[in-house]
């Protein structure tokens, strides 16, 4: 099937998503019918070797196009293409295939959505595409309503650290949905980084940092509440840290010339509120998290000694000796700990994957401290705390630069 040039492209990376694929396609089609009736559009499914009917669902829908969309009919053909890029799923390969298609079809605005997002709406799709299409942005990050105690890795590490380092206040660098321009797609395709683990596992964060570093126009769009993934899906803490923190540290290494001399941070244009927290009760048994922090600091002492500055390590060991009731992981120590990790990653004091995995027990300490401290906090109080943490990351950035440029600890 010949597609020709398109205005809009929506990519759907998939792997055994037969249960939700039909709904995802229907939602995207609906969005096109409602919002982009005059535009040339394509839906591109890239599949990582599904053994179920994921791809068939897309092809079957092809035969009953425009059926049952509340009387709305697009003036253009809604092309649907499915492509199997390999026999095993790979986020990086899937995104690369989508970028290559976007470049080939000269798409002006592109979005990637995940079939695992069970509450995807047509307005989400439109909101991911429109600012790039109409207002010439190059990268669009989503914003979601967060549950109070979910997404803490993003809120206590990924967002404040990337904000302080790269100087842009983009909250969701790691997400299942995002939008980008054809120009950014071409720039990303030209880079010889697709074999890197950080890009293969978390291409969206790398795309965001690429856009920031190239000083392209970035924005955020508030999409709404994102449904929690079904039980058993989504990465656990260890896997999430390996992927997301490993990817962030790699981006620091890759783009060091762009951030070493940058100070402060700036906001990016945001459509809708820039944060929203929903009520949720804290986890029932946070003491177990604290025990895992304490045993981790004890068992990994030789590793932490080679990663952290001696003063930082001494303070971490000291707080690990405190009672659970008196335990607090102060922002200042948390920030210095992470900057030590980033600098040690740069100096490769040990295998980088092992180094990133060593963050896990310390993150658990921060997590426990956060859960106890904010058990009864309001959304505003939590946001104020997050802002303080972001400012602390910015305040201590010279420490990171000093350690980054300095000799490794010995």
């Amino acid at each position: 099937m010949s597609v020709g040039e398109v205005d809009l492209l929506v990519g759907i990376p998939s792997y055994n998503n037969a249960a939700t694929m039909g709904q995802t396609i229907a939602t995207i089609e609906e969005s096109f019918q409602q919002n982009f009736v005059r535009d040339r559009v394509v839906i591109l499914n890239v599949d990582g070797g599904s053994s179920d009917d994921t791809r068939n669902i897309l092809l079957q829908r092809n035969e009953r196009r425009n059926g049952g969309h509340r009387g709305l009919t697009s003036l253009r053909t809604v092309h649907r293409v499915s492509w199997a890029y390999g026999s095993a799923p790979s986020s990086g390969l899937a995104v690369r295939t989508i970028l290559a298609a976007a470049d080939l079809l000269r798409a002006k605005s592109c979005a990637i959505v995940s079939p695992t997002t069970t509450n995807l709406t047509s307005s989400w799709v439109a909101n991911l595409l429109r600012p790039i299409y109409r207002e010439r942005f190059d990268f669009l990050a989503p914003l979601y309503t967060r549950n109070k105690f979910q997404g803490l890795l993003a809120r206590s590490l990924l967002y404040p650290m990337s904000r302080a380092v790269f100087g842009y206040r983009i909250r969701e660098l790691y997400s299942d949905e995002w939008g980008f321009s054809g120009r950014l797609a071409s720039q990303c395709l030209d880079q010889d980084v697709w074999h890197e683990e950080a890009v293969r596992t978390r291409p969206e964060a790398w795309m965001a940092v690429t856009a920031i570093s190239a000083e392209l126009n970035c924005c955020q769009y508030f999409l709404g509440q994102k449904a929690a993934p079904a039980s058993g899906t989504g990465p656990d803490i260890v896997e999430a840290i390996r992927q997301a923190v490993g990817s962030l540290f790699w981006c620091l290494e890759k783009y060091e010339s762009r951030w070493l001399n940058r100070t402060g941070s700036q906001t990016v244009p945001t459509f809708g509120p820039d944060h929203e927290l929903s009520e949720e009760s804290p986890p029932a048994n946070p003491e177990k998290i604290f025990e895992m922090f304490r045993s981790g600091v004890n068992e990994l002492e030789p590793l932490l000694a080679s990663i952290l500055a001696s003063e930082t390590h001494a303070q971490v060991k000291a707080i690990a000796l405190l009672d659970a009731e008196r335990f607090r992981f102060a922002n200042e120590l948390w920030v210095r700990t992470l900057y030590d990790f980033a600098a040690s990653y740069h100096h490769a004091v040990l295998n980088r994957d092992h180094l990133v995995q060593s963050v896990v027990p310390l993150y658990r300490g921060m997590l426990y401290s956060f859960l106890v401290q904010h058990a009864n906090s309001s959304a505003d109080e939590m946001e104020a705390g997050a802002e303080q943490l972001g400012l602390e990351f910015e305040r201590q950035k010279p420490y990171l630069v000093e350690r980054w440029k300095g000799e490794k600890l010995r």
């Binding site: 997404g151 929690a228 981790g296 068992e299 896990v360």
Partner: protein
């Protein structure tokens, strides 16, 4: 009598002169070989050092954890260690060739034996080094996995892996050098077999309940435990 003594001394002197006339050129050749060997060894050392700097071996060694062990043993960096090793192996080879030129009876056979051993020693050192790096990498990976999953006694798991790989590397190195070959193989088989059998018995018979609990916790309750911690992203 006097003439006999003088004749004897003259003969001895002649023999000495003759021997020296034969020996001194050989000594000179030996010295030339040793000096040339020194130059060649130095050249090779410099070349290898440059190549290893380009290939960033030190960084690799640092990442794999081998450098930490070298520092503990007060040894230089990996690049320096390998280039110095090459220097000494090369120069030793030239020195042995030089000594063989002297033609001293009895030394030839010993030198031949030493020559035959040199490659084996080099291979043994390489095996030990690879064993060290592999043991360190895998034991650290196991330690991190066990700590982050919250398993009890992660250091025991880590040290067990380190011990098994070390034992394997040492047995292989000794086998390559040919030191008590049969004894080494037998000793390794006994130790390794006993270790594994001990684990199997301890886990299979002594720890049936523990094994059941372990498997249930990992296979059945993994999802539930995963959700005890808030979603990170």
């Amino acid at each position: 009598m006097k003439e006999v003594i003088i004749q004897g001394l003259a003969q001895a002197y002649t023999n000495l002169v003759h021997m020296l006339a034969e020996f001194l050129p050989r000594l000179l050749v030996m010295l030339v070989i040793v000096v040339v060997g020194l130059l060649v060894a130095y050249l090779l050392k410099t070349l290898l050092r440059a190549v290893l700097h380009v290939t960033r071996l030190d960084r690799l060694s640092e990442e794999a954890g081998a450098s930490r062990f070298l520092r503990m043993a007060a040894l230089p960096s990996m690049t320096e260690l390998l280039s110095r090793s090459l220097f000494w192996v090369t120069w030793s080879g030239f020195i042995l060739i030089g000594i063989s030129v002297l033609g001293v009876a009895g030394l030839q056979e010993q030198i031949s034996r030493l020559f035959l051993l040199l490659p084996a020693i080099f291979v043994a050192i390489l095996i030990l080094f690879l064993g060290l790096v592999t043991a360190n990498f895998l034991s650290r990976a196991a330690l991190l996995a066990a700590v982050n999953a919250g398993y009890p006694s992660p250091k025991i798991v880590s040290w067990s892996i380190r011990f098994v790989i070390w034992a394997l590397a040492i047995a292989m190195a000794l086998e390559v050098v040919g030191v008590a070959r049969q004894t080494v193989i037998a000793a390794f088989s006994i130790i390794f077999g006993a270790f594994m059998l001990g684990l199997a018995i301890a886990f299979g018979f002594g720890g049936q309940d523990l094994a059941r609990e372990f498997l249930e916790r990992n296979l059945k309750e993994k999802k539930r435990e995963k959700r005890e911690e808030p979603l990170p992203l």
